[in-house]
């Protein structure tokens, strides 16, 4: 149902409907980024659930959140976890899979409320 507002606004909306051409540079950058993403799937492909479970187990090992109250502590803990050797963590969890440092560090900082 067209209203007076529609009749007034239609020429303005039509003028805005022309789709702009993204520049060749932009398209080239996006293609390069797409290809780069394909070449580095390891972190991106990790399922979200597994990462959070890992982080939860690590947190429990440290005495849980009450033991890490405060942003500074959480950030420092994140740094500590980041510097942990994957071998040590693997042994504790009894897992035979290896994870990169990036797998747990971002999650812990996120749960802490972000940087």
């Amino acid at each position: 149902m067209r209203t007076d507002d529609d009749r007034l606004l239609d020429p303005f909306f039509r003028a805005a409907q022309a789709a702009p051409e993204p520049g060749h540079d932009m398209q080239a950058r996006l293609l390069a980024a797409a290809e780069a993403q394909l070449a580095a799937p390891a972190v991106a492909a990790r399922p979200q659930r597994r990462r959070h479970r890992l982080a939860a187990v690590l947190l429990a090992a440290l005495g849980g959140w009450p033991a890490m109250a405060g942003m500074a502590t959480a950030a420092a803990t994140g740094v500590w976890l980041g510097f942990s050797s994957p071998d040590l963590v693997e042994g504790y969890l009894g897992s035979s899979e290896s994870y990169s440092l990036g797998d747990y560090m971002p999650d812990v900082v996120e749960i802490a409320g972000g940087p």
Binding site: F12, P20, L30, P41
Partner: protein, 194 residues
């Protein structure tokens, strides 16, 4: 390229193909979706091309990252893209604390030959609309743009904005009322014909 020679492959199928290693699928998605993200970002950012390009690019980069964990059949790729683009545009506006040029600062189009004058009239109308959109509350702006420029249905807009259909209708009605009030005073100078 054999893939999508007739444009019939869905965005989602292309995204899944890309996630499985087909970079050619990314090329088609770039051609299809970047103009969409860019046009939408332009309207959300008061016509600022540089800002809109940044936002559209970032939205597409996030699409590449999301491709690996894309859950089929849950949402349209374009719905996802609209939502991410809107959020990025919102972040940008909040960081810079600005709404765009005031309505009365839009420059007059110069005197040109008839064909060029019509083109400039279109450009001036788009610029005037951008200024008026920038004065709207963000959610009204988003609903109006998705409905009347991007051509989405109300249920599609509801999915993008994570609200009910009635809320979409309310936002678009209020938004259009406000836009009409702002733009009605500029009809003659913008070549508007009854």
């Amino acid at each position: 390229m054999a893939l999508d020679a007739d444009g019939s492959v869905s965005d989602e199928a292309l995204l899944i193909a890309y996630a499985n290693g087909d970079a050619g699928a990314a090329r088609i998605l770039i051609a299809r979706l970047t103009p969409v993200a860019l046009r939408f970002a332009l309207r959300m950012l008061a016509g600022d091309r540089a800002e809109a390009e940044d936002v559209a690019q970032e939205a597409m980069l996030r699409l590449w990252k999301a491709a690996g964990s894309w859950r089929q059949g849950e949402a349209k790729v374009t719905s996802w893209l609209y939502r991410v683009t809107a959020n990025l545009a919102t972040d940008r506006l909040r960081r810079r604390g600005r709404q765009g040029p005031p309505l009365d600062e839009i420059p007059e189009p110069p005197d040109l030959s008839p064909g060029a004058a019509e083109a400039m009239t279109q450009a001036a109308r788009a610029a005037a609309l951008d200024a008026a959109l920038a004065a709207l509350p963000e959610r009204q702006r988003q609903a109006v743009v998705l409905r009347h420029i991007e051509g989405l249905s109300n249920p599609e807009i509801a999915a993008v904005m994570d609200i009910g259909v009635e809320a979409v209708e309310s936002l678009t009605a209020r938004g259009k009322r406000a836009l009409a009030a702002m733009l009605s005073g500029r009809r003659e100078e913008l070549g508007y014909e009854d």
